[in-house]
Symmetry: C2
Subunit: 359 residues, 2 copies
């Protein structure tokens, strides 16, 4: 969490402890802080404040988008990309198979959903398409604008899980044109336990949780004031810094890639390497099983497919590239952040290469 | 939020930023902190750690209990008390009227659910009974143990919303014997955006939100580590202080009552005054409309029925006592906390009495 986020949250733990809806004068200051935070998040997204619904995280935001739209219909057809996060994937899978049919949009060898292929899956009864903006596993970015335009030309709404993109690349909903967009605060230096769903003006969703009417009637429960204020501060920070941070992460990611390619023999195969990939993600297939390297290189945090059955997001994403079961065990993904230093990159490459030699 | 809670949360914002499930060694410390917090909450509740499911608040906990149980059945019959919080009430109301029938258990003039009356509502197809432990509006406490025993004698599970009771009275699930019990951290000096559901060992619920499997498979999403650690610290505090705090709040509540009765003429009618009521709640019916007093006594925080249509929890609770529409506008409820001082009580009584005279 960024220091400025922490600082922004401070007064809302004890001093300003009230809730926005209370009648005491002290509650007005809290209500104002919450609305300012909403405006800050809206500015980052490129939308209006009333289009932002605060949630307890990206998972709840994705659930609200998927289940909240599904509740409007008795059944129908949904298309999801093969790379979706568990919270989209499982929410879609939870829908009754008696009334809902699901199609999975495949990706190419670079992890990209082809809009034309996706279009061929659309039917008269398609109620929703879900495509993430960028994959945390592969770094692959999807052509959301193109997909949104073709969905809309068929009268179908698009939900876009953008939790992995904020803070890494500039995101503007006016360009993307998705109908709903999921955000997660802790993925962009904000607090844990906090997220939001952008809901396009006039777009109709049903709530998933019930209680006192809050958040435009879409999400009940007492407002998590400190977290929302922190999310606003993080959005302000991201708005200001994302372009510079992106350039720097890109440079360091390339450095890590160069180092690993030269230090590991035989050289790893770099996957999903496109100019528009997330600047902080590097995914590789090596010649050795990754779990043995992981045990030695414990100082380096990287992710690998953890569960082959049932498949998790990592496993599903790699399989979607056409990677077989044996190669799957030799793949891993590195993620960089705003505070990653050149020194850390060099150390990580050395530690990883050393672990590889002994793996 | 209590200072010790804030202090306990501190290291988990930046220093220990990892998530419990990550493979890095730094994640183990975080996993341990989360499990310690779970044990602290469990100790307060009187249960085992694995019976505690962390949520984003009391609202989500109530939704998980009601909707998570309803999902196990295609339909049936549910009994709820007339005093339930919106998150129980609306969750029950959200169930399809084609397959679910709802009965409301009335309360007596003291706001108490009579177990015998409740029993008369139970049917062969009753799937669930929901009765809160204590009402934040009336202070009335329900005979949960008696209700649990009679529900169980019919093979029906009991959900108890106990969000308003922790920190005010000692609560022990071994005495209460409800099957699920909802908690809210910010109602007991813990952080906002955090709650829990006690789920009795072996009791089966379906999740309401979907994603990566967390919290015994009942609640997905990245762990809100700082909040959960804070909830644990608050539970420790409540465990140690609730008996003393209860005695003190009782004394101050009685003082407020005495003062208001002597300073306001004609003397207000005190509602739901029983020896076992919440020690921090005072509810009164006055001879004047409360909204006019509220406008003048803005330094005193008290609650009044805000919405007559649709009825909110306050309105429903007062109506359940048999209070008519005109009297409803003359009722208000005062709540005290651990930090309420005798001086504040005296000032509040003076301000309120003065506002009453001018109201």
């Amino acid at each position: 969490m960024a220091p400025s986020v922490r600082e922004a949250m401070e007064p809302y733990w004890t001093e300003h402890f009230m809730l926005p809806g209370q009648t005491h004068p002290g509650a007005s200051a809290v209500a104002e802080a919450v609305e300012q935070a909403r405006e800050q998040v809206a500015k980052m997204v490129g939308c209006e404040g009333f289009e932002i619904v605060f949630t307890s995280g990206g998972t709840e935001a994705n659930n609200l988008a998927v289940l909240g739209l599904a509740k409007r219909y008795g059944g129908g057809h949904i298309v999801v990309s093969a790379l979706e996060h568990e919270s989209v994937w499982q929410a879609v899978e939870s829908l009754s198979p008696r009334t809902w049919r699901i199609d999975v949009a495949a990706v190419d060898s670079q992890g990209r959903v082809d809009p034309k292929t996706l279009e061929s899956l659309l039917r008269e009864e398609t109620r929703m398409v879900c495509v993430q903006l960028a994959s945390p596993v592969l770094g692959a970015r999807q052509p959301i604008r193109e997909i949104a335009d073709l969905c809309h030309s068929h009268g179908i709404p698009l939900h876009c899980d953008a939790t992995q993109a904020f803070g890494k690349i500039p995101v503007d909903i006016r360009t993307l044109r998705a109908d709903t967009l999921a955000l997660s605060a802790h993925k962009m230096y904000g607090p844990k336990g906090c997220g939001a769903l952008y809901v396009r003006r006039g777009f109709s969703l049903a709530p998933v949780l019930y209680g006192e009417s809050r958040e435009m009637g879409l999400r009940p429960g007492s407002e998590n004031v400190p977290a929302w204020v922190g999310f606003g501060a993080a959005a302000k920070l991201v708005d200001r810094c994302v372009t510079d941070a992106m350039a720097r992460m890109h440079e360091l990611r390339d450095r890590l890639q160069d180092r690993l390619l030269s230090q590991i023999s035989p050289a790893p195969r770099v996957l999903c390497q496109r100019a528009d990939s997330l600047p902080n993600t590097l995914v590789m297939e090596l010649e050795r099983e990754i779990c043995r390297i992981a045990r030695r290189a414990r100082g380096v945090v990287f992710s690998m497919p953890r569960s082959l059955l049932p498949a998790d997001e990592g496993t599903r994403s790699l399989r979607a590239l056409g990677i077989g079961e044996a190669e799957l065990r030799r793949c891993c993904s590195f993620s960089l952040g705003w505070t990653t230093s050149q020194e850390q990159i060099d150390t990580a490459a050395d530690l990883f290469a050393e672990a590889y030699d002994h793996g």
